[in-house]
């Protein structure tokens, strides 16, 4: 893995940088080798890099001071929440300050009248729901890592989750955010008119600034939720069922698919009681008021049976919880089958599901690697999990090539490289598969508007280095410098 070339002059100033940061955040600088080990990567585990130094501010003023210092000294910054990124968004750099927001973990205000909760960026996703569920509310986006991932990271990645089919991604549930720019300025962003900078900061993967406070929308808890499990004897039948439910104008709260291999892994892991012998299952939630849920469940069951499924409904809350716990465990369960795993994240038009699923199975044979399919079927967001052993000669390369081929296939059928995990370093070099030079240049100009010196999270998202030129306007320099030794994934 090659990130932008390490600036030796920054590394040489390390002692001074550490000392200056200690003056800014007296009790929050990690600089010893052992301590830094804990911050050497995120959930894209194949890549590890110890940061130059790690700083853990407690206040937005400290964040502003650190960014101002970095800007003045020309030292890159890598922001980090809980380090659960699956795309390497928080992968440190040897010449960059890693700024961890995990200690800024206070819920600042719960405003039920406005259905809004104000939080610091290190508050975990689930903590928001925990804080308001007693009053009948919840925070809708629910990435599977919600017990650990932070709202700051969710905003950076525009995280989705199992229920975003009906309730949207982070960006659709965000009312405002306070951003510290690389020069240490603090700006409050909302969408009350004017440019929607809030919308573009959501999902910007730490390239535009550091969010130090956010106001998120909470929703009233649905009074009724019912869960169906539909077992199919063929994967294309399941794909057809998904397409028919969506085309039928039904918006389930969630609609998740798991294939046989994944079902078996999950059964071995936590025994949620999935049907034996099925080639695939769909787990479908409908939520809302009773009559609406009853109608949706009846219609979905009819469609599923029409597609050849055996349909069963969770009988009580305990079974519902068990079924969903199984789905959320797909990642760790598959992780037990092999030492290493890649989790892909492309989204495709839903009608393409049968075709893409069939092609992926062929590819797996061609690459000779194990894989399983688990995905957010309702919105066509695929999560093929490729399992491999990094110690076996050539397996990492094969796995990455397989993954890249899957994502190319997604783009080929009209889809995108990433539905919710972000580009990070993982899909960085595939960006030209989806975007032209002009498309990428425009995105990079936007980056330059926020961070002309390119200090925020360098080496992420964009496949080529570019320089921002200041002369009245900014543009991407013609002579791009490709990372010469990058693996194509």
């Amino acid at each position: 893995m090659l990130m932008p070339e390490t600036d030796a002059s920054i590394v040489a100033r390390r002692d001074d940088i550490v000392a200056r940061l200690k003056a800014l955040v007296p009790d929050g600088v990690v600089s010893d080798r052992a301590g830094l080990k804990a911050f050497d990567g995120d959930a894209l585990t194949a890549y590890r890099q110890s940061p130059l130094v790690c700083v853990l501010p407690r206040t937005k003023e400290e964040v502003a001071a650190v960014l101002k210092f970095a800007s003045e000294e020309g030292v890159p910054i890598v922001p980090r929440g809980a380090g659960t990124s699956l795309s390497g968004g928080a992968l440190p750099l040897a010449d960059a300050i890693l700024i961890g927001l995990s200690r800024m973990n206070r819920i600042l205000d719960i405003d039920l009248e406005n259905r809004a909760v104000t939080v610091e960026p290190g508050v975990t996703n689930l903590a928001i729901t925990r804080a308001v569920e007693g009053k009948g509310f919840y925070y809708a986006p629910d990435p599977s890592s919600q017990i650990a991932c932070t709202i700051g990271g969710n905003i950076a990645e525009n995280s989705g989750g199992l229920h975003c089919l009906k309730y949207g991604l982070t960006t659709n549930n965000l009312l405002s955010a306070t951003l510290v720019t690389i020069t240490g300025e603090t700006v409050r962003l909302d969408s009350g008119g004017g440019y929607d900078l809030l919308g573009v900061v959501a999902g910007s993967e730490g390239l535009l600034g550091v969010v130090v406070e956010a106001v998120v929308r909470i929703l009233p808890l649905p009074p009724v939720t019912r869960t169906l499990m539909a077992a199919f004897s063929s994967v294309p039948d399941a794909g057809r069922c998904v397409a028919e439910v969506i085309a039928g104008g039904i918006v389930p709260a969630a609609m998740e698919f798991m294939d046989r291999r994944c079902i078996e892994a999950v059964e071995a892991y936590c025994a949620p009681g999935y049907p034996k012998g099925a080639e695939g299952v769909l787990i479908i939630d409908a939520d809302g008021i009773k009559s609406e849920v009853d109608e949706a469940i009846a219609r979905i069951a009819t469609i599923a049976r029409g597609c050849g499924a055996e349909v069963r409904e969770a009988v009580d809350e305990a079974e519902r919880a068990r079924i969903w716990a199984g789905r959320k465990s797909a990642f760790p369960a598959m992780g037990r089958l092999a030492p290493d795993m890649l989790c892909m994240d492309g989204t495709i038009p839903r009608r393409m599901l049968p075709r893409v699923l069939a092609r992926m199975a062929e590819m797996a044979d061609e690459y000779g690697l194990g894989f399983c399919n688990v995905f957010h079927a309702g919105d066509g967001n695929l999560h093929p999990l490729i399992i491999f052993d990094v110690m076996k000669e050539g397996e990492l390369e094969r796995a990455e090539a397989f993954g890249a081929d899957i994502l190319r296939l997604c783009v080929e059928v009209g889809g995108v490289l990433t539905g919710e995990h972000g580009v990070g370093v993982e899909k960085r070099d595939l960006m030209p598969e989806m975007f032209s030079d002009a498309d990428l240049a425009q995105q990079q100009r936007l980056k330059c508007a926020f961070d002309a010196a390119g200090l925020l999270n360098p080496g992420k998202v964009f496949p080529t280095l570019s320089a921002c030129v200041e002369q009245g306007h900014m543009h991407v320099k013609g002579g791009r410098v490709p990372y010469p030794n990058l693996p194509r994934f």
Binding site: R115, A116, G136, E157, G160, G168, T171, N172, T181, E185, T186, V187, R188, D190, S191, G192, G193, G194, Y195, D196, L197, G199, V200, A202, G203, L221, I246, G249, I250, G288, I289, S291, E292, D294, T347, P349, R351, D379, N381, V416, L417, T418, E420, M431, M434, F435, S436, D439, A441, Q442, Q443, L446, C448, A449, F450, V461, G472, H473, M474, H475
Partner: protein, 372 residues
């Protein structure tokens, strides 16, 4: 002078011409919202009304790709054939702005963030624009976003286009998500309410799980709209009546929501018209501080329409800002026409950032709608 562009290539050529001659161009669709801006400098018009038509519509995908000059009314008619609709409930601001009814384009709706009462439930335009093609101030055609419902690949440029009033350049293609049309809708009304109580009732229903698709208050009446199948609608109306049981609840009138979205419910006469975005619970304080000639609350109070006689814009905006809101001038009739900026000015640090973002798309300032 007008440049009539029928293809993206012609838009590119027009922008390159403007760039070469350093001419500011006014981007226009059906020109129904011209009155939201003003123009001292009569620059050439880049007319996109012929860059029209549906490019791709897959009802089973619930995704629609259209060219910007397509009439919103035409899109709605096409979607209705498949029992679908645009989720942001686009109103018709034509009559309020002195333009013919039902003539606005989708490009204009996106650029001006034209969304109606249903946005309280299904989100604003920003929540529906999945991807686009456009031409920037370098005269380059480019795309942003994608054509699937869930996508985080690269920066979310579609958000930036919504409500941009064309200041980042002409849009040449738009991809929107669409929604199933509810089988039925119905509404309730509570009349004779004090302002504070009326606004409270909107928030009360908004905090219930009924998923109201309209929550508005105008001149003493609170209006509540719901949708669903017969059974669902019955349950929602019964539950809402129970929640509102301290008051006499009557059947509502769906047409009221059309007038509220269109801004005609405000009955502004010849007054200036403003729209305020603020936290809903601040609405009673804002209304009492500003004491407008007329006002209407939509989105459970998160959107306020105001009609004012000549008033001190700066003082009003300061009062709104203290409540965490923004006050945008939608239609200026009097002195405000030339002297008041249409959008609520941002604080200096944010304004500097906004300027840099604008320059990232349009370094020469070719697309400079006046009045912003």
């Amino acid at each position: 002078m007008a440049i009539l562009a029928r293809t993206e290539a012609e838009v590119v050529a027009a922008v390159q011409w403007a760039r070469a001659h350093k001419r500011n161009v006014e981007i226009a669709g059906a020109r129904t919202k011209r009155h939201m801006t003003y123009s001292r400098y009569q620059g050439p018009v880049l007319d996109l009304s012929r860059l029209a038509g549906i490019v791709e519509y897959q009802p089973e995908e619930m995704i629609l790709t259209v060219r910007p000059g397509t009439k919103v009314a035409e899109i709605e008619a096409c979607l209705a054939e498949h029992d679908q609709q645009l989720g942001f409930d686009p109103p018709d601001w034509g009559p309020l702005l002195g333009a013919p009814a039902s003539s606005g384009t989708i490009g204009g709706a996106v650029a001006a963030d034209v969304c109606g009462p249903g946005a309280v439930r299904y989100g604003r335009v920003r929540d529906h624009l999945l991807g686009f093609r456009a031409v920037n101030g370098y005269g380059e055609a480019y795309k942003g976003g994608g054509k699937v419902v869930k996508n985080v690949t690269g920066f979310d440029l579609p958000k930036l286009m919504c409500g941009s009033f064309g200041r980042f350049g002409p849009l040449t293609e738009l991809t929107l998500r669409v929604f199933p049309k509810p089988p039925r809708q119905a509404s309730l009304a509570v009349h004779g309410l004090e302002d504070g109580e009326g606004l409270r009732l909107l928030r009360l229903i908004h905090s219930s799980p009924l998923g109201a698709t309209g929550l508005a208050f105008a001149r003493g009446t609170a209006w509540f709209r719901f949708d669903g199948t017969d059974a669902a609608l019955r349950e929602k109306l019964d539950t809402a009546r129970a929640l509102l049981s301290d008051h006499e609840v009557s059947d509502g009138d769906d047409a009221v929501f059309r007038d509220i979205g269109n801004g005609t419910a405000l009955d502004a006469g010849a007054r200036d018209v403003w729209r305020i975005h603020a936290p809903p619970a601040a609405a009673p304080r804002i209304v009492s501080a500003l004491a407008p000639a007329r006002w209407v609350a939509d989105w459970a109070g998160a959107l306020l329409w105001l009609a004012t006689d000549e008033a001190d814009a700066e003082a009003m905006r300061a009062a709104v800002a203290r409540e965490g809101g923004r006050m945008n001038l939608m239609r200026a009739m009097g002195k405000a026409y030339l002297h008041v900026r249409r959008l609520h000015p941002s604080p200096p640090e944010l304004a500097a950032l906004e300027k840099a973002v604008k320059a990232a798309f349009d370094p020469l300032g070719l697309f400079g709608s006046m009045g912003f």
